[in-house]
C-alpha cells in the first residue's frame, strides 16, 4: 500500500515506533533485533521551530538530538527517513562525512545509504527491501499542528463515549483533555490553551453543521444528546463521517484555519 499520500511527520514517528512491536501486519525489524522504545520525542526542536520541513534542517541537526542537544558529537546507530527526505538529505550528509546507516521507510523499508550497521542482526534485517502492507500503529494520535481531519475522529468517539456513559454535559476543555488522553496533564499551559481553543472552534463548527441535531451549548457548557437506539447511533456515525468528508480547506478557513496556522 502506498503511504505517500498522507505520510506526514506523525506518520514517520509512528512508523519508526511500530518497528519495535512484534506484529505480522507491519515490519518488526527493531523488535527482532532486540530493541524497545525507551523515549518518544514527538517535538523535534530545530532552532526554535518544532518539527520543521526538511529543507530547514541543517546537517548539524541530523547528528544531534532534537531536544537536549549535547556538546559532544553523538554517534547514531541508524537514521530512518521518509522517501522524499532521504533523497533530499543524502548528499548533504555524505558531503559532511556523516555515515550512519540511513534507512528509508515508504512502500518498502530498507537500508539505502551510509555505512553498514555494526549490529549484524540489523545489517541482515535491513539488507533486503521489505514491503509495508499497512499503515503504522496508532501510537501518537495527533499533535497540536495536526489538521482537523486527523483530530475529528477522536472528538467524535469522545462525544459518543460521553453519551453512552451518560456524562452528557461538558466544557470544551474537558472534551479536549479526554480526546488527548493521559498526555494532557504533561502539556504546558499555553499548549493546553491553544488546543482547547482549537477544539472549541471545532465544536462550534460541528454544532452549526452536520452535528446540529446532537450538540447544544450555552457559552462553553456543552451538551451531547444521542438516542440510545442502535439506529440513532448509526445515524450519528454517518453524520460524523459526512462532516469529516466536508472538512475541506474552505470550511477550515471559515472556522479557524488562521488560528490553526498560528499554532504552528
Amino acid at each position: 500500500m502506498s503511504t505517500e499520500a498522507s505520510f506526514d511527520h506523525l506518520d514517520v514517528i509512528n512508523s519508526v515506533l511500530s518497528l519495535a512491536f512484534n506484529l505480522e501486519s507491519y515490519p518488526n525489524h527493531l523488535y527482532k533485533a532486540g530493541y524497545h522504545i525507551s523515549r518518544i520525542e514527538p517535538q523535534f526542536n530545530v532552532n526554535g521551530t518544532l518539527n520543521p520541513e526538511y529543507q530547514k534542517i541543517s546537517t548539524r541537526n541530523l547528528v544531534e538530538k532534537g531536544i537536549d542537544i549535547p556538546k559532544e558529537e553523538m554517534e547514531f546507530d541508524v537514521g530512518i527517513f521518509g522517501k522524499e527526505n532521504i533523497e533530499s538529505l543524502k548528499d548533504r550528509l555524505a558531503e559532511k562525512g556523516i555515515k550512519y546507516p540511513q534507512v528509508v521507510i515508504d512502500e518498502f523499508i530498507q537500508k539505502r545509504y551510509g555505512d553498514d550497521f555494526k549490529d549484524p542482526v540489523l545489517r541482515e534485517l535491513f539488507s533486503e527491501p521489505v514491503k509495508i502492507n499497512s499503515k503504522p500503529l496508532l501510537i501518537i494520535k495527533f499533535v497540536e499542528d495536526s489538521p482537523f481531519k486527523k483530530i475529528a475522529p477522536f472528538i467524535f468517539n469522545t462525544l459518543m463515549a460521553r453519551s453512552v456513559s451518560r456524562r452528557t454535559t461538558f466544557t470544551s476543555r474537558e472534551l479536549t483533555e479526554e480526546s488527548l488522553g493521559e498526555i494532557w496533564d504533561h502539556l504546558d499551559k499555553d499548549l493546553q490553551k491553544s488546543l482547547n481553543g482549537k477544539i472549541r472552534k471545532f465544536l462550534k463548527h460541528c454544532k452549526s453543521h452536520e452535528l446540529k441535531d446532537y450538540l447544544s451549548n450555552r457559552e462553553d457548557a456543552w451538551t451531547i444528546e444521542i438516542n440510545e437506539h442502535w439506529k440513532s447511533r448509526k445515524k450519528f456515525s454517518d453524520d460524523c463521517n459526512h462532516l469529516m468528508r466536508n472538512l475541506s480547506q474552505k470550511i477550515l478557513f471559515d472556522f479557524g484555519f488562521e488560528e490553526e496556522n498560528e499554532l504552528e
Binding site: 505480522e24 518518544i40 531536544i67 475522529p153 453512552v164 493521559e182 498526555i183 442502535w230 447511533r233 448509526k234
Partner: protein
Amino acid sequence: MISSRAEFHRLMEKTINTNLRSMEERGEFADYAVKTNIIESNCSVKDIPKSFGDYSFELKPTQDKFLYVMIIKKGTDKIILYLDTYFKRFWKLYNIEKSLTVNNFISQFTNNLLKVDSLWMPHQMLNDLEKDYINVGFSIKFKQEILEDEELSENDISQLTMRLWSKGSKPTKGLINLLEKNNYPTTKTSTRLLNKKDDEIKFLDEVFFDGKVTVSKGTDIEEHIHFVDDIIDDYSEKMTQIEDNRMYLESSVGGFKSNGYPFEIKFSKSQSIEKVSDKLINSTSPFRLWGVIHDKYDDFLRIAGVDTHTGDKFNMDLMPDHARVYLPKEACGNVIFRLYTNIQHSLDPGVMISDEHGSIF
C-alpha cells in the same frame, strides 16, 4: 428463604440429589437443574438500578456479606436468584429456575446495564476446560453473519449447528477430528464435562461460552462450585493478560514513554474490510461497538470507536488479513473477549488473536 451460605449450599445440594434420584427412578428431573451464570462486573451491587427493561428486583442480604437473594419480578412472574459477589470482578448468579426464564433475564441484565456483561469464552477456552475432565459432548454453532451467500465460495460454510452428547469421550474427540480434518468450523459454544472420582460421578456439567454452567447430574455441590471458580480463575487470568496490554503514553524525561501493546487479529482468509467494519461498528448485538472510519485506503481503514456496552473508547485498524485493536488505559478488557468470540461465531472460525508474546487463547 435462605439466610446463610451454608443454607444455600444445602438447598442446591438437596436439589441435585433429588434430581439424580428422580432421573434414576423416573427418567426425568424432579426440579429445574441447578445453574450458575458467571457475570463480568465493573460496578458494585449498589450501582445496579432496581428496575431495568421489563424487570424489577429486590436484593436481600444474607448473613454472608457477599451473598444476596435476588427476587426478580416481571409482571406477575417471580423468580429467585442467588448472587455471590465474593469475586469483585466476576459475580456468580445461581438459580434453580426454568432455564428459558433465567436466560431471558440474564440477557436483559447484561444487555441493559452498563458495566455488567456476560463472559465471552472463545472455543479455545472451552477446549482448555476439557483437559481435566471426561468430555462427553459439545455444541457447535457457526453462522456467517457478515458475508452474503453470493459472496461465499463453493467450499465456504454459511451455517453449522451441531449438538453431541455421548457416554464417553471417544465419539466427541472423533467428531471434532473429523470436522477439523475437513475444514468445518469447530467453534464450540458449549462443552459437556464429566467429573468422576473412584467411579462416582461428582458432576456432569455443561459449560456455555457465555459463562452459564448447568449441572446435568451431580452428587456434590461443592465440586460444581469449585469448578465454576476454576472457570473464573482461567477467565480472570486472561483478563489480566489482556488488560496489561492497554496502551497509554506517560511522561518521561524529555518526552513520553509508550506502554502497552495492540492486539493483532489474524483472519484465516482475506476479508472485505468494508463489510467487516459495517458489521462490527453498527452498534448492534453481539459486537455492540460503535465507530467512525478514518484514514481509509483500498486495503486499510482505521476506526475510532466506543464499546457501547461500557462507554469505553477503543481504536482499531482493519486490513484484509489482519486487524489491530488498541485498548486505552482503564478500558474494560471484556471487549476483546466479546470481539474475538463473536468473530469466531459469525465470520471466521479460524481467526487468531495475539499480543506481544503470541497467541492469547
